[in-house]
Every structure is written in C-alpha cells, then in structure tokens.
C-alpha cells in the first residue's frame, strides 16, 4: 500500500512538470495552430539559465535559501520568456504564411538548433545544479515526500491558477482567447495579434522555465538533451487533454505523470518511456480531440 501511495506522489510531481510544459504547447497551438517542437528545449534552457544565474549570484550548496531559489526561478522565467519571443519572431513568423508542414519542419529545426547549440556552448556533459533548497523528507502518513517535491506540486498549482486568472480575467487573456478562436476576426476587432502571439510564447516559455528550474532543484543534474524526451511527453499530455485547452493540458500532464510513475515502479519498468507514446496513439485513435477538446467537424 505504501508503494502505491509513494508512486501516486511521485506521479503527481512528475505530472505537475509535464502539465507546466504542456500548457505552453497548448497555448501556442491554440493561437497559431503550430506544434512548437522547440518548447521542450526552452524547458532545458530554463534549467541552464537557473544554473548560471545561481552561480553568478553566488548561491549554492554552501548557502541554501528559499529566497534565492525564488529569485533564480523568476529570473530564469524572464530569460526564457525573452528567448521564446525571439524564437517566434525570427523562426516562426517568416514561415507563418507557408504550409503547416513547413512550420512543423522549422519547429523541428529550431529544436535541433537549441539542443546542439546548448551542447556546443554548455558542453554535452551533465552539470550539477546547485541545491538552493536543503532537501529534507517530510513524512506524509506512511510515506515520505521531500520538501522540494512538495514545492514542485505547490508552485505548479500556483502557476496554473495564475495562468487561469490571466487567461480568463484579464484583457490580454481575452485577446488570447479571441485570437485562438479566429485570428482574422480578432484583427478586425482591433486586437494587435502580433503582440498577443508574442505574449503567448513568452508566457508559455516562462512556465516551461519554471518547470526546468524546479526539476533541476529536485534532480540536481542538467544536460542539454533533457528537454527532448520530456518535451515530447508533455506534448502528448497536451494532446491527451485536448490541444488548445488549458485545463486539459493540466489534466493530461497529471494523467501521464501518474501512469508513468506506476509503470516505472512495476515489473515493466523498461517500458516507462513508451507509456506516453502508447497513450498518445490510443488517444489519437479513439478520441483525437482529447479529453476536454471539442470535436471539430470538417465542412466540405
């Protein structure tokens, strides 16, 4: 019984990370109908940004502090928001008028560029992320959860709630929803679609960066390819929940995190990476619009 609860907790932690990254995928797809393959790599850049910021600020194993951790996370989020906007402006905007296939291949190109660029600049070897928070286990009933993992769940929750507020209670959020509904009409209504698109990218990238820093705090080893597989699984989570749908991305992330945790703890643990893809295939065959998505009927 303890193992099941432990796996549930691990699954929730993993799922929160997937959910944060999946939100970025969903938002960008909703606004641009583009699968931003490079999003997983923005998550990786967030971890590296946090690493270098922490090193420059002198924070590290010697003097852990919660305030420092928060500062590092926020700075990394800002850095990645800028990076996301730059990617959109220079790589995606020129191909927006071309076919969807071209945009997809461009996204793949950007993803490869970031990965190999990171390998070249930062070195392919994993780096040890400074532990800004002293890790200590907190007993929850029969099982334990480290304070870092608890922080992941709590911070993710706060960020998701914050995002929901932004999307539904602010003017820019309304603009985002309008642009994802129908870009041309939004333009006709006087919405600056370019700014909205850039803002969407910035927001998604900031969330991915937060996920990156938190993962780095939890598993203090970062490498340039850490975003590849995680990004793909987060994309699956977004599709599972209904791509373009924000609560769906969260639900999808948590489901995938939990399932992966259970498979990882079972006898089929070698197949844990295949879980996400298996779910993807089942979802796309059975219900392509996802759990919360609305089925789109094609008019001929």
């Amino acid at each position: 019984m303890e193992t099941v609860v432990q796996q549930i907790i691990n699954g929730l932690v993993l799922g929160s990370i997937y959910a944060l990254i999946a939100l970025g995928y969903s938002m960008v797809y909703g606004v641009l109908r583009l699968i931003n393959f490079a999003h997983g790599d923005v998550y990786m850049l967030g971890a590296y940004a946090g690493y270098y910021i922490a090193r420059t600020a002198g924070l590290g194993d010697q003097n852990p502090s919660i305030l420092g951790a928060i500062g590092v996370t926020v700075s990394a989020m800002v850095v990645c928001a800028v990076i996301g906007t730059v990617i959109e402006r220079f790589a995606y905007k020129p191909v927006r008028s071309h076919s969807r296939l071209t945009s997809l291949i461009t996204a793949i190109g950007v993803s490869l560029l970031i990965e190999y660029g990171a390998q070249m600049i930062f070195g392919a070897n994993p780096k040890a992320f400074p532990s800004l928070v002293q890790s200590s286990p907190i007993p929850v009933g029969p099982v334990q959860i480290t304070n870092v993992n608890l922080m992941i769940i709590v911070v993710s929750l706060l960020l998701m709630v914050g995002l929901q507020l932004v999307v539904h209670k602010t003017k820019i959020g309304k603009a985002m929803r309008a642009v994802s509904y129908n870009q041309t009409s939004a333009k006709l209504m006087g919405i600056n679609t370019e700014m909205v698109i850039s803002f969407t990218f910035a927001l998604g990238s900031a969330l991915a960066a937060a996920a990156g820093v938190m993962v780095a705090l939890s598993i203090p080893s970062i490498d340039p390819l850490m975003g590849l597989l995680t990004g793909l699984k987060a994309f699956v989570a977004a599709v599972l929940g209904g791509i373009g749908n924000i609560p769906g991305a969260v639900a999808g992330g948590l489901i995938i995190g939990l399932l992966e945790s259970f498979v990882g703890g079972s006898s089929l643990s070698g197949y844990r990476d295949a879980v996400a893809f298996g779910i993807l295939i089942i979802v796309l065959i059975v219900r392509p619009s996802g759990i919360f998505g609305t089925a789109v009927t094609e008019k001929v």
């Binding site: 076919s99 990965e115 298996g278």
Partner: protein
C-alpha cells in the same frame, strides 16, 4: 518498354554494378599521383547508397502520397534487427556448430553468403512492411501534424521495445545470436555481408520502383490523395487503401535499408541508432531535395551524407558546430526555399529531350512570336504533344 528490353536493361545494370563493386574493392589499394580513394570514402559511398534507399522510400510516403511520417527510423530498426536475426539463424542452420569459425575464416562461399543476405533482406523488408501495415491502418485517418506525432510515437515505441529485447542484445546492441544453452552454446556473430553491389542494387531498384509508381495509375491515385483527399475520395479513390499501401512500400524500403546498414562492416545495430533524430535526418534529406521529387530524394540523400564528412574539419576545430550548422541550414531552407532544390520537378531524360525540343521550337517560332506578341509560357512545356508524361508534374 517491352519485356525483352527491360530484361536487357536490368542485366546491363547488374553487370555495371558488379563491375563497380569490384572497382570499389580494389581502388583503395591504388593511388594516382598521391590521390586515392581510401576505404573511408568507400564507406561513405555505401552510406550514401543506404541513405538513398531510405530517402526514396520516405519520399513515397511524404512526397508522393503526402502523408507526413516521422517514424522512419522505427521501420529501419525492425528491418535491421529482423534481417540480422534471419541471417544469423540461417548460418547456424547451414553450418551448425562450426558457423562462427567457418564464417570468420572466409570459407563460407560467395553463393551461400549472398543467398543468406538476400533472404535476410527480404525478411527484413517484409517485417518492416508488416509493421508499416500495423502502424498505418490506425494512424492514416489522422492528418498533418497529428499523423507526424503518431508516427513519431510509434517509432519511439519500436525503439523502446527493441531496447527491452535481450535476445537481440537489448541496450548494448545486436552483436551476435546465441543458440543453445550453457557449455554447448554457439554464438553466431552478425556478418558484414553488405557491399557496394547489394547496397546500390537495392538503391537502383528503389528508384526504378518509385519512378514506375509515379507514372502509373497507382501513383496518380497517391498524388490525388496528396493534393486534395476529399476530392479524391469523391472521385472514387479509396484513399485509405492507397495511403496504407504507400506507407507499407515506404517502410519495406526502410526495412531493407536497415538490413543493409545492420550488415555493414563496423556498424552495430543498437537502439540508440534508430532514434527520432535519425528519422528527422531522412526527412531533412527529402526536404532539401524537394518533397515529391525522386531526383530530389537522391540528391538530398547524397548531399546530406557528404555534408557531415565535408564539415568534419570544422567539427574538430569547434566541436559540435557541425550539427548547429546543420540545424541552422534546415531553418534557413524552410524560411527561404521551402520547396527544396528540385521542388516537385524531376531530372531525367525527358527534361533533356524537352529542352532540346523547346530550343528548336523557340527558334522556329521566334519570328511568329515577334509578330503575334506571344512567347512560350512555362506551363506550355508540360502539354507539348509527344513529350512523355513521365516525371513531369
């Protein structure tokens, strides 16, 4: 073309390939004025051949049928592992317990090894085709981005499954196959059977097959599906059948190419070789050459096999820069020339003949045009009477 003519062409092609094979094997030993083709470049040549087969197969799926598949590496893996399994098993069946010794001493005989290789490649191709069928039937009702992601997912699942199969080496790779238990266990290592002849024979067959498909009713149906699936369905084309068939053929070619690469000297079949990035490399090849163009696929495969070798000095100066340039090239290609080098056009005998005929026609009609005020428009080229439709868009 009559059957006799085709047979003659085929025989000539085989002889040429055999001759080239011999030349390639002997060339590394000769140098002319200090320049020679080392074994290194021979190997690059063989990699080009394998990549050409892969690219032509993927072009059938992505370019001609218009279905975006990102899982090609998975089919390669299936073909590679299956063919290695089959060749090792056949060698064990034929030579029994002495298999390893006979094979390593080179006493196996060309006839036997060739037959076993062909059997292995056929098995690999069939296995990959079967997997392609299994993957294609559920996936091909999806379109565009979703199909791309599902094929990617299948590719990854195949890789993870292979990683967990200890009988074929699991994570460490398919080095040899062991028969029997304990002290009497016989281990047959995977033999480096692939040479220039087989690799380029397969490549030539792949290209010829693609050309024949493009100029047949089957190809027209595929292109109809590519252009507008709903219209094609309305015209009575069974879109599902044609899409799945293209998928199966493309994956069969990938399987054979995978089998060849598995039997290449010094190549090891590991799950790590067949990742999503490998699939992307093949996609880049056909995108560079022009999606939908067979010539483009060949040129793209050649260019992108040579590019890493040409950029190797750059890589030793700045490690990792090579791949960064690769990725940058892809992005710039998509921004500035998304149709690739050839677009959808082909380069073939027709093109040369047409140019010749057009030059004549221009010379004759120049006078008339000057008076009438019209000129030859590019679209007219495709409707000239007498020019064969093969290869034209």
């Amino acid at each position: 073309m009559s059957f006799a003519k085709k047979a003659v062409f085929a025989a000539v092609a085989v002889l040429v390939l055999l001759g080239l094979n011999f030349a390639v094997q002997e060339l590394p030993f000769y140098t002319v004025a200090g320049y020679g083709i080392s074994e290194y470049w021979v190997r690059v040549l063989m990699l080009i051949g394998i990549n050409v087969t892969l690219a032509v197969g993927l072009n059938l799926i992505n370019g001609i049928a218009g279905q975006f598949s990102l899982g090609h590496a998975g089919f390669m893996a299936v073909g590679g592992y299956t063919s290695a399994y089959v060749t090792c098993s056949l060698f064990f069946l034929i030579f029994g317990n002495d298999a390893a010794r006979i094979l390593s001493s080179g006493n196996a005989g060309v006839g036997v090894t060739s037959a076993v290789l062909v059997a292995g490649l056929v098995a690999g191709g069939l296995a990959a085709a079967a997997v392609g069928l299994a993957v294609g039937v559920p996936s091909l009702r999806l379109k565009g981005d979703y199909l791309a992601i599902v094929t990617l997912g299948f590719g990854e699942i195949i890789r993870v499954v292979i990683q967990n199969l200890n009988v074929v080496g699991g994570n460490t790779g398919f080095r040899d196959l062991t028969f029997g238990e304990g002290a009497s266990a016989v281990s047959v290592p995977v033999q480096p059977l692939a040479n220039f002849f087989w690799i380029f024979l397969v490549a030539v067959i792949a290209v010829v097959m693609s050309r024949n498909i493009v100029s047949s009713t089957f190809g027209r149906a595929l292109m109809a599906v590519r252009e507008d699936e709903i219209a094609a369905e309305a015209m009575g084309v069974n879109t599902t059948y044609y899409k799945v068939m293209a998928f199966v053929l493309g994956s069969a070619l990938a399987g054979v190419a995978g089998g060849l690469s598995g039997h290449l000297f010094g190549n090891l079949l590991t799950p790590a070789t067949f990742t999503f990035v490998r699939s992307i490399e093949v996609v880049i090849m056909i995108v560079l050459g022009g999606i939908g163009s067979i010539t483009g696929a060949v040129v793209g495969a050649t260019a992108l096999t040579l590019l890493p070798e040409v950029l190797r000095p750059v890589d030793s100066a700045y490690p990792g820069l090579r791949m960064v340039l690769y990725a940058l090239m892809l992005i710039l290609l998509m921004i500035f020339r998304p149709q690739g080098i050839f677009g959808r056009r082909e380069f073939g005998f027709d093109w040369i003949l047409r140019r010749g005929r057009r030059a004549e026609a221009v010379a004759l009609t120049d006078g008339a045009d000057a008076i009438a005020g019209t000129g030859t428009r590019p679209e007219d080229d495709q409707h000239q009477p007498g020019s064969s439709e093969r290869g034209t868009r």
